[in-house]
């Protein structure tokens, strides 16, 4: 057999030299087959990550992703942060350790690829075309599952911990979350569960969250009964003033604005709170009359990650404060925020 260059190929080891010179047509066909097979190999997304690979460079692309990434990884391993989503994440008040981290604007393949990550952490709702393009370019994309409850959040943490090689840290965080939730449940069971309603409005029709919502879960963790869920609502739905009056909650939970406008009247909260306080139709609603309105910072109000536990804790704190206040001075409970 004449010696010639031997190349390992999917089709097996053949004497290419032999083939090329002795049977050009067959060689061409085999070459074509080999080429196709090679391309197919290339297009295949890497399935389960090889256990040994550690993600050195990670880019989180949504607010939840930022929460997860910053909880599990050191700042150096986070290549860039999403500019727009940052305000709704735990890093909205940027700690010094992340001051020099790069930023990217929009979830598009090109800027992200330019930053050269090994792994991109994205949310299920983000643009699938971009995700696909990143995958085709050989970048690993980990899509966060939809977080329905803190248990889902724990599962996601553990999964990510495995992937990042920070399993230990993930287990620690989970344990911590468990403990915090247990404490919340204890506080909740020690007294009555006030009826509360989530309310969002900008002057049009307001909306509320029923069962199967993250914020609804926050209410439950904080030991409140979601009056909207009890009335049979699921998901986010419109809530007219009349419906709000019919629900007659003891407490209303609203979102504090991202950038609170400078205001002479110090504690004028966000638009939702202003709508509640300024509408003559709601003047006699007990929650409005007694100013039992709790404003959660916007990032916690809208959070989709394990920070729902922190949201619940903050909410519980405010509820307890209101209860203490009304016990002390029945007539004069102002609204609390932040």
């Amino acid at each position: 057999m004449p010696t010639g260059p031997r190349l390992p190929s999917v089709a097996g080891s053949f004497d290419l030299f032999h083939l090329t010179f002795r049977a050009p047509r067959r060689a061409a066909l085999l070459g074509l087959a080999a080429l196709t097979a090679l391309c197919a190999c290339q297009r295949e997304a890497p399935g389960a990550p090889p256990a040994a690979t550690r993600a050195v460079r990670v880019i989180p692309t949504s607010a939840s992703a930022v929460d997860f990434a910053s909880a599990l990884l050191e700042p150096e391993r986070i290549v860039a942060l999403p500019e727009q989503a940052l305000e709704y994440s735990v890093l909205h008040t940027l700690p010094a350790s992340f001051a020099s981290t790069a930023r990217f604007d929009v979830y598009l393949a090109e800027p992200i690829l330019a930053l050269g990550p090994d792994l991109v952490l994205a949310d299920a709702f983000q643009a699938p075309e971009t995700t696909q393009r990143l995958v085709q370019a050989g970048v690993e994309v980990f899509t966060l599952p939809v977080i329905g409850s803190w248990r889902d959040a724990c599962a996601a943490l553990l999964q990510l911990g495995e992937r990042f090689g920070r399993a230990e840290r993930a287990r620690e965080l989970c344990a911590e979350l468990d403990a915090r939730v247990a404490r919340l449940e204890q506080r909740a069971s020690s007294g009555p569960r006030p009826r509360a309603v989530v309310y969002s409005s900008f002057g049009g029709v307001g909306s509320t969250a029923g069962a199967d919502t993250t914020i609804g879960d926050v209410l439950r963790l904080a030991g409140l009964d979601n009056a909207a869920a009890l009335a049979g609502r699921t998901g986010h739905s419109d809530l007219s003033f009349e419906a709000l009056i019919a629900l007659d909650p003891e407490l209303i939970v609203v979102s504090a604005p991202l950038k609170a406008p400078p205001s002479a009247q110090g504690d004028l909260g966000g638009a939702s709170e202003r709508v509640l306080l300024s509408s003559p139709a709601l003047a006699e609603l007990r929650a409005v009359r007694e100013r039992r309105i709790v404003a959660l910072p916007a990032w916690l109000f809208a959070t989709n990650s394990f920070e729902i536990v922190r949201a619940a804790e903050l909410l519980r704190e405010q509820v307890d404060l209101l209860a203490a206040d009304s016990a002390a001075t029945p007539a004069d409970a102002g609204s609390r925020a932040r």
């Binding site: 029709v205 007219s240 009349e242 991202l258 406008p261 009247q265 003559p280």
Partner: protein, 356 residues
């Protein structure tokens, strides 16, 4: 059709519509998610005008909410229909609607600005008191609508005579500009999801949670516009054979167009400020009147007010009975009805399309 019998038919129709309007207002006050109805509602309504002592505060608040909602729906429907009839008379085209003169586009832009201010995206440096912030969006919507219409009118009049064609073309151009700005604002506020959501919700229209101020706004606008009707009704009828022809008969066409423009933009701006973006009423209602009753603007302009009121309020009540509360916002509801109706009109008149 004998002119005398036409007038009689119009009068009968008018009386029927007004009666239907009152019936619908009462029915509308009896519908709501809180289950309050019957005698309590009646007492609550009487209490508004001071004839009986008010109900328990929250129930009274509910009855008043329903009352303002009904009055708003009626006023908005009437105002939009009148504006539509005026614009159709001015453009001599039954397919015209108030949006052509830039009202809806300008109102959306103004409202978007209001939401940006409320959401803190655009700092205004002034401390907005609670009551004022409730009026911010409607005020800016009204201002935006009025300003845009003024721009359209001024630009169209730049080189002497304001022909209807130039009004139309300038209206389209200005609408495009405004729509572009509005789209840009929507895109740029994608990150501020609360503000973006509010802006989007505004484009669907809203009859929920209306206050007395909303109802007052639209009825004042409607009344002022209605006062202009006698000044242009006969003239708009003469416009139908052409503007030049009308001029030869002695009509001051510039004055008529100005008054019609001002009246229609006043009515439409007030409507949009009160209830957000609701389309098609201005197109559909005058048309239905033409099909059933009269093409005569002297009668059509007046009839369109109760007809529009019954149309929008009736659709709202019907939708609340069939689908329950708050399922379809009025803008969406009207689009679902208006789109197919518009198509039906085009098909029906396709033979005459050549002469437009």
């Amino acid at each position: 059709m004998n002119p005398r019998s036409e007038r009689k038919r119009a009068w009968i129709l008018g009386v029927l519509l007004v009666a239907a309007l009152f019936a619908l207002l009462l029915k509308s006050a009896a519908l709501g998610p809180s289950g309050l109805r019957g005698a309590s509602v009646a007492r609550g309504l009487l209490a508004i005008v001071g004839l009986t002592p008010p109900l328990e505060p929250n129930h009274q608040a509910i009855v008043e909410l329903r009352a303002w909602r009904g009055l708003c729906a009626a006023g908005v429907g009437g105002a939009l229909a009148l504006a539509g009839a005026l614009v159709q008379g001015m453009f001599r085209n039954p397919l015209a609607s108030p949006s052509l003169i830039g009202v809806t586009g300008g109102a959306s832009l103004g409202a978007a600005l209001g939401f940006l201010i409320l959401g803190g995206v655009v700092p205004t440096g002034l401390a907005l008191g609670a009551a004022w912030s409730a009026l911010l969006v409607p005020t800016l919507a009204f201002a935006g609508a009025a300003a845009t219409t003024a721009v359209v009118a001024l630009v169209a009049a730049l080189h002497g005579r304001t022909s209807v064609t130039s009004l139309l073309l300038v209206g389209i151009a200005v609408n495009l500009c405004v729509a572009g700005l509005f789209a840009a604002i929507q895109y740029l506020t994608l990150a501020e999801w609360e503000v973006g959501k509010a802006i989007l919700a505004w484009t669907f229209g809203a009859l929920d949670d209306r206050s007395a101020a909303h109802a007052a706004t639209v009825w004042i606008g409607l009344t002022l516009a209605a006062l202009c009707v006698p000044l242009v009704a006969r003239e708009l009828d003469l416009f139908r054979s052409g503007e030049d022809d009308a001029q030869a008969l002695g009509v001051d066409t510039r004055r008529v167009k100005t008054i019609a423009l001002v009246a229609s933009s006043l009515a439409a701006s007030a409507a949009v400020a009160a209830a957000g973006q609701i389309g098609f009423v201005g197109l559909v209602v005058p048309h239905l009147l033409r099909l059933t009753c009269t093409s005569n603007y002297r009668l059509l302009l007046w009839l369109s007010i109760p007809a529009g009121a019954v149309f929008l309020l009736g659709a709202d009540v019907l939708q609340r009975i069939v689908l329950g509360d708050g399922v379809l916002q009025p803008g969406v509801m009207m689009s679902l009805v208006g789109g197919p109706f518009f198509l039906f009109l085009l098909l029906r008149q396709r033979r005459e399309i050549a002469h437009w």
